[in-house]
Symmetry: C5
Subunit: 365 residues, 5 copies
Amino acid sequence: MKANQYIRYIVPTLLFGTQRTKKIVNVNPTSEAHRQDSKESFITVYDYNEQGFSEDKLTLVEESFTFLDNNHISWINVDGLIKANVEKIADHFRIHPLLAEDILSIGQRPKMDEVEGIFYCLLNMLYYNRKQDCVETEQISIVLGKNFVITFQEDPEKDVFNPLREKIKLQNSKLRQRGADYLCYSMLDLIVDNYFLVMERLGERIESVEEEVIRNSNKRSLASISQLRKELIILKRNIGPVRDMIAGITRSESELLDERTTKYFKDVYDHIVQAYDLCENYRDITGSMQDLYINNVNLRMNEVMKVMAIVTCLLAPATVIGGIFGMNFESIPLLHNKWGFMVAVGTMLLIPVWMLRMFRKKGWF
Amino acid sequence: MKANQYIRYIVPTLLFGTQRTKKIVNVNPTSEAHRQDSKESFITVYDYNEQGFSEDKLTLVEESFTFLDNNHISWINVDGLIKANVEKIADHFRIHPLLAEDILSIGQRPKMDEVEGIFYCLLNMLYYNRKQDCVETEQISIVLGKNFVITFQEDPEKDVFNPLREKIKLQNSKLRQRGADYLCYSMLDLIVDNYFLVMERLGERIESVEEEVIRNSNKRSLASISQLRKELIILKRNIGPVRDMIAGITRSESELLDERTTKYFKDVYDHIVQAYDLCENYRDITGSMQDLYINNVNLRMNEVMKVMAIVTCLLAPATVIGGIFGMNFESIPLLHNKWGFMVAVGTMLLIPVWMLRMFRKKGWF
Amino acid sequence: MKANQYIRYIVPTLLFGTQRTKKIVNVNPTSEAHRQDSKESFITVYDYNEQGFSEDKLTLVEESFTFLDNNHISWINVDGLIKANVEKIADHFRIHPLLAEDILSIGQRPKMDEVEGIFYCLLNMLYYNRKQDCVETEQISIVLGKNFVITFQEDPEKDVFNPLREKIKLQNSKLRQRGADYLCYSMLDLIVDNYFLVMERLGERIESVEEEVIRNSNKRSLASISQLRKELIILKRNIGPVRDMIAGITRSESELLDERTTKYFKDVYDHIVQAYDLCENYRDITGSMQDLYINNVNLRMNEVMKVMAIVTCLLAPATVIGGIFGMNFESIPLLHNKWGFMVAVGTMLLIPVWMLRMFRKKGWF
Amino acid sequence: MKANQYIRYIVPTLLFGTQRTKKIVNVNPTSEAHRQDSKESFITVYDYNEQGFSEDKLTLVEESFTFLDNNHISWINVDGLIKANVEKIADHFRIHPLLAEDILSIGQRPKMDEVEGIFYCLLNMLYYNRKQDCVETEQISIVLGKNFVITFQEDPEKDVFNPLREKIKLQNSKLRQRGADYLCYSMLDLIVDNYFLVMERLGERIESVEEEVIRNSNKRSLASISQLRKELIILKRNIGPVRDMIAGITRSESELLDERTTKYFKDVYDHIVQAYDLCENYRDITGSMQDLYINNVNLRMNEVMKVMAIVTCLLAPATVIGGIFGMNFESIPLLHNKWGFMVAVGTMLLIPVWMLRMFRKKGWF
Amino acid sequence: MKANQYIRYIVPTLLFGTQRTKKIVNVNPTSEAHRQDSKESFITVYDYNEQGFSEDKLTLVEESFTFLDNNHISWINVDGLIKANVEKIADHFRIHPLLAEDILSIGQRPKMDEVEGIFYCLLNMLYYNRKQDCVETEQISIVLGKNFVITFQEDPEKDVFNPLREKIKLQNSKLRQRGADYLCYSMLDLIVDNYFLVMERLGERIESVEEEVIRNSNKRSLASISQLRKELIILKRNIGPVRDMIAGITRSESELLDERTTKYFKDVYDHIVQAYDLCENYRDITGSMQDLYINNVNLRMNEVMKVMAIVTCLLAPATVIGGIFGMNFESIPLLHNKWGFMVAVGTMLLIPVWMLRMFRKKGWF
């Protein structure tokens, strides 16, 4: 066997990387100190009511303060977290210091809170990184107050709110006709919808790995399954608490949430429950893929071993016969017979044939 | 061993198809955009009260509008979903836009909702496809309003409501004497009853696969078990939420549901709970079938290996004896003895016989 | 190895029969149409109050109608279900048509219901069939009304109520001094008590199978375990819902149930909970029996393979030495030496002895 | 291999005894008839109040009747159950016949009940039998009435109440200053405390079996693990319901339980919850011990098989070479060469050395 | 194979030490008698209000009594438990004797209690011992009364309260402005935060063990995984009840807890829930590490066995051919042919080459 032929059985160390494990095991939501300030922080304000709409890119945090009491609905989107800025905003918009701490925390579990007239949601947006086939998270904090929503995101590059930005510009969109709670709902809806996109990608990956396992199970397949399972842990960890969170919103009796908006949140809740169920299905499927893989490897191995054992066994009688007539006794029957050799070789051939028959009769191969 | 004899151990790629996995993993209820309008949409109205009955096939959506306030019970059955039509109906019958969205959605989780005087159920009808031995689903939306029920189905070809159509025609049937809520109950009852038919087919399949596993476990059996498990995931995914949904209906205090009808819904609930239990039993049984399969494969393999090892082992001493007397030493005892050969061959035979006895004594075979 | 010696490893197809699986997977409580009318239906009425007692075997269903309002407690026992009869009784005793349907249904899940002044219990009596070592079920419906109890049984041959029949005849028995609810309790109590008898038999079977697994694990043991597990599924399926049912009765605030009787139902509840726990224990034990079986089979197999491998390995050096001195080179050392043969054979013996020592030192056997 | 060396792999039938299984599977709490009257029944009365204390050994059951209404706290301890006596006491102390039945029952699940001014607890005291390393149970019934506690025990020889007997004698003990409910609490507390002693013993056994599994896994270890698991089933079966029972007491609003005593019961509850948790931990640990055992056995087996296979494989080329030069062809190269033999034997040695190198390079051993 | 090469397969007894098992299985919270008095007991009092702060190291227990009613907030920290001292304090600060018992108990399950105006928490601080890679616990009791908090710790050397000591000294810290309940919250917060530090260490260990399993699975890895699992049992046992405990605090309606403080406790609750989730993730990951380990070991073993079997099998035909032409028959074809030897040896070479091809074609290696 050449080296490059069994290479595929060698443990692919790189694939089994422990980086994901690191991501999963190293969570410490309590130590806010770890978060480094972003280099830059972009603040964009979408200020609207049924009649008008304006979009402002602010350069100073303080500029946002004017939007607190202007009777319009204001969405203040903060991209990139700088401790000083967050605290200034929290201070002016009367966000409880504990919430400010949560905004700045790392690795928080999705949660919902209502403190002194402020409604607060913390959750993760998920993205699927196609290059590394893994799920990426970005923490987002949504602060809902009277007539304003403030969102705090980690990464200025990306979010899932572009459809929202479009809708705000349309005068006859429902968004423009409803209050800040509807804006908050729209955000959660988009985030949860995006979970399904991520799961769709992961679903495709599960499919292709299953295909691989079925066609040619190799060590690489096991690595892929193992990686998928880790992604599912990350997925479930993010989706599970969001489910509880949104259930909490639908039960909430906050004055900030208009009764008309409740049924929209219930709709989001239906979706997140389905996402969670789907997660469980994924888990089931990867589990049975692993069983299948192990079964395939064993079956192939067994097949080889069986054939080898049978061949070795079939040839053993011939060796014995060869040994018998190779002995140097003076008087061995048949030795001087003209047909002796033929008889011996014939027996060597006949015994395996007879054995084969017997084996086959017993259904051994 | 001939090729066509071990063929049955080759992984049957086709059987392990990943299409079902695709069906299971790729669910995204949030993106309504995906649904393509049906080519055709058939609207049938069954309009009845205790005295009379009429059946109309409509050509225009707008014709259905007259049935809203005619004091008869009307069942408007829409086969084939066309976005424009659904929205027109929703608009006229005052169905909330969110519900209209749900009607048009794909891959939704079964759910129940009550919004502004409209009672809404979304679930799947299940059919068993005997050709591919798989469970097929068709989404159905049941909208219950005051004096009317509107059903939206995807596939004009099939549904499970034929017994209902018969009963409507019978003047003395209970259906004719009760309100729209009883019609809604009758629909859910038929859908759930049909689940049992599907499960019966699946049960037969489980039986025949078990038979196969017991008689001659081969790779194909594993594929069948694996396929069955996927069908069970799909089954459970559909039945589980329906259970919650019907429990919700029995608890509901909607004015649309007559108190006299509640006990009928409780009856449906009993059935769906039993369907769910049965699902769990199916799972148990397929699980132990898989164990049985693996056990059978291992046992047969072990048996073969053991016999091979024993035969090889029994012949080894003969080889050694043959080797001893085949050596070319000048002075080997017995070589020139007349009975030498007989003694040697005799020993060759006696040792295995003695070994066999010892092995058997130790209960090794 | 003779055929009759490995026969015990051959899969005993008959033992692994799929009939039980059929029983488990084919449940369809919704299709009442399947039930065929019994050939005969026996109606016995036990009519009693504190003072008197009468037992009547009725020939016509209509005769039972007089017992509805006679101020005595009446137990009307119907053995053998005939649709027409059941419906006549239901009609006269004001049993809701849905309940009548349940009485006639097949494969129902145990349930309890209270509809319009009628208290209804449906459950299964269990019997242990010693011949086939399986659990048999007989559906029984208990209808409790004001002053009467009607029981519907499938099989006229057997039930578990004989002790009750005795007690009814005793004037000073508590049964005679209490109302119809106490009669109903007595029935449930007897049915649940009988579950324990069935479990006792099953327990004995578990014991004897365990004994068998320990003494000589063979394929037949696996079949027995597999069969036991199916019986446990059937047992659990019957006991679980009965538990919920009786819990429901203890919580019920029906006027039909005297408060004094509640504590008796609580007593039955304690028993059924214990039966359920016991079921779980049985499951645990059969699970670990299966583990034990697999372990035993593997261990024995391993032992054999190891000894074979060791024997083969020990003899290999001798073969090589034989080969060396059997070569036809002109000048081979020792060949012409007087002690040559002895040295060669001695080495053949010494090497295995040395190997054995080394193996033993490493603890390999 | 000598017989006494593989003896440790033989299934130790005696160790795997099915008696424990019998104990676990054969539970039938419904058939009171099975209990045989004890040969003797000892009745001891501890009668006390804050001022005084007396201890009386009664010879007749009737003597105990005077303690019902004497305004002292009386603990009537009945050791050994005789049906007639129990019924006499039940009758006089107004204990409901159902409770009397429970007192006389066998194999009951721990339960709590409050019937007509009587508070009733049934549970098992556990003892650890060091000789057979198993958990023994003794059923105890505690009947709490106004000013009296009656305990019914099966075995006159042993109980766990000695510390209580000491405390009763001490005038300034809290026991003397509180009511009958405190006495009842003290009993439950002692019983639960004793559970921990039993678990401590079992814990030691788990430790020593783990030690054994690690040092030299043999079949006996598996028997020990299997036995431990059965003990844990018995433990859990006793502790689980006691937990529910004591939770029931803490929630109870019986007049018999002084509010001041509630926090003491809560303390017992904390302990029993911890005992239950501990039980789960034990289960986890024995589970992973079994895994470890199987792994060890497999690893050792694999090691042996690998070495055997390698040795056999290394010697095979030498056999072939020996065969080549042992052929009787007329013209075989090297045969007449002076160094021929050396070359042949040298090759025989070199090939295995080269193979060994290659194997080692691939990390095969 | 040299001894030092397979040494890594030998069970590393030391690593599998049973000390941790001892720690897990031997828990008995009921026997307070076991706790030995500490040699020394240090009492430090931090007495503060918004205006001032003092820190006192007391030499006599009695000195602490003055802090009960001085209108300042007092934190009395007792390091080292001496029975007499604890009882004196409990007596003076009106702590219920049951709580005093709990303070002195060993191996208690974390619990919360409120008795007669005293709020009591018992839990464990966790530390990670880097040397032995294990989790250490130190029991702490927090007693919250009106205006005072008393903490009882076992080990004077260490605790997690240093940040608190710093904050107390800062006049403008929130701690100084709030009541004793905020002090109690701060303590629980620090303890829970410290859990995450411990889990971080454990997470690092999990990572490094996973790395090890992937790179070179050996017996030592299994020992490490087994050890990790035990640590996780200890972790979960400590975190689970703390979760329930803090949930209890957030629901508590004690007068000792200011409503403003509730949201802080809710924050701690969020953290402890996340810690618990993380624990579950750890468990998942170690579980799949074990699977991976077993798979790796099997795969490597299989690879070796397969190659050995193939080599042995390939050489078997050559042995037979050697035997054939080594027979001493008079007339063997080719023997006297000039090319005979070449033909024989050629066949010996060609057969394995042909076999290799066939094996490869069947994908056997």
